[in-house]
Each structure stands twice: as C-alpha cells, then as structure tokens.
C-alpha cells in the first residue's frame, strides 16, 4: 500500500485527513504535516522526514501539497532527491483528490496513484449549477 502525506501551510492538512477518516474510517499509513509561519526550513524538513520515516513500511509515499512553489511543496521536492524510499509530490490537494487516492492506493503503484490523484483533483472541480442544468435537460 502507498503511504500518504498531506502537507499544507496552516492546519488544512490535518483537517483533510480528519475528514477522510470521518468518512472512510481510520486510515493507516497516512500522515499530516502542518507548516506554520514560525517553522524554520529545518523544522519543515525534519517534520516531513519524520512523516516519511513513519511510512517506511509502505510501497512508496505520495505527498499531497497545496500550491506549487509554497514551502511545503518545495521542501517535499527536496526530499524526493534525498530519500531512499520512492516519493512523488502532487500539488493542488482537494477532497476529491484525497478520496480518489485513499480509494485506490492499495491497487495502484506510486506512479499510477500520482496520475490518479491529478485526475481526481481536476475532475472534482466544475460548475455544479451548470452540471445539474445539463442533467435535467
């Protein structure tokens, strides 16, 4: 099974995991890394490393972050170049992405899951009012 880390600026990351667990039940091999303004670069790196360490027994780790270029994303990408365990970083985390990832992580390899995460996140964004109008026609 692929391990999942959600990391964001602010406590969104832990809230995301909490929401997933509220719906799908307690999840193993899932970690939240919350970054606060007071965190130094070393703090962020060591928190991410600690989360990866907890997921050592997984078949790779998918890191889901908020915005490309923000510190959580940048330090996650740095880990990809250092760590022994296979890591992939996907940005733009949202609930549709998370539910897709937690549904498929035991069936897909890391590369496939990263692709599925991107698809799930993008598919979940649309004008719901317009969608309903079309389905009622």
């Amino acid at each position: 099974m692929i391990g999942i880390i959600v990391t964001t600026c602010g406590k969104l990351a832990s809230d995301f995991i909490e929401t997933v667990e509220m719906v799908l039940g307690k999840q193993e091999l899932a970690e939240a890394v919350v970054v606060i303004p007071q965190d130094s670069a070393d703090d962020i790196t060591s928190n991410l490393k600690a989360a990866v360490e907890k997921l050592q027994r997984s078949d790779g780790v998918l890191i889901l972050t908020g915005i490309f270029g923000e510190s959580c994303c940048n330090f996650s990408l740095s880990l990809c170049r250092q760590d022994d365990i296979p890591l992939r970083v996907v940005t733009g985390v949202n609930l549709p992405m998370l539910f897709k990832v937690f549904t498929y992580r035991s069936m897909l390899n890391l590369d496939e899951l990263a692709e599925r995460a991107c698809e799930g996140g993008q598919e979940g964004i649309f004008d719901a009012t317009e969608r309903i109008k079309v389905s009622e026609r």
Partner: protein, 88 residues
C-alpha cells in the same frame, strides 16, 4: 448478475458520510458492484463516483452485483440503504 432497486430513506440522502458507509461496505466484497440512478451507472466502490448520483431522500437507486459473493453483497448493501445508512 444480481440487482434490486431501493428507495433512499434518510433525510440527507446519499451524502458524503452515507456514501462513505456504502463504499466501505461494498469494498468488503470481491465482486463488481455498481449503483444506478436515472440511467447513470457508477462504480459503487468509488466514493467520488457514488456522490455524482446526487441521490436524495426518496430517490430510487439500483444496486447491481456480479461475481464472487455477489448475492451476499446485494443483501447487505440493500440492508444498509434500507437502514438509512444508520441515519434518520
């Protein structure tokens, strides 16, 4: 293939928590499971797919199962729907 139509009984319908309960139950079975509403058929093991049905209270959904333990899956998933997913 086994299939049966059920009426959604709980007030919030097949909302996020209810869909989660449904998917958790359907994922216990090795067979293929689909949900159908208004001629739209989705994979009943994917919460995002189940949510797209927008199945509110009193709407009718059809559970379809095929493969190993298909009959048992239909019976227990049907019971979950009839029980309002454990909600009012």
């Amino acid at each position: 293939m086994f299939q049966q139509q059920f009426k959604i009984r709980n007030e919030k319908g097949l909302h996020l928590r209810a869909a989660g309960e449904f998917v958790k139950e359907s994922s216990k079975y090795p067979c293929d499971i689909w949900l159908e509403k208004d001629k739209v058929k989705v994979n009943a093991k994917s919460i995002m797919s189940v949510l797209t049905l927008i199945a509110g209270k009193d709407s009718k959904i059809t559970i379809m199962t095929e493969g190993e333990k298909a009959e048992e899956a239909l019976k227990n998933l049907g019971r979950l729907v009839l029980d309002g997913f454990g909600e009012k």
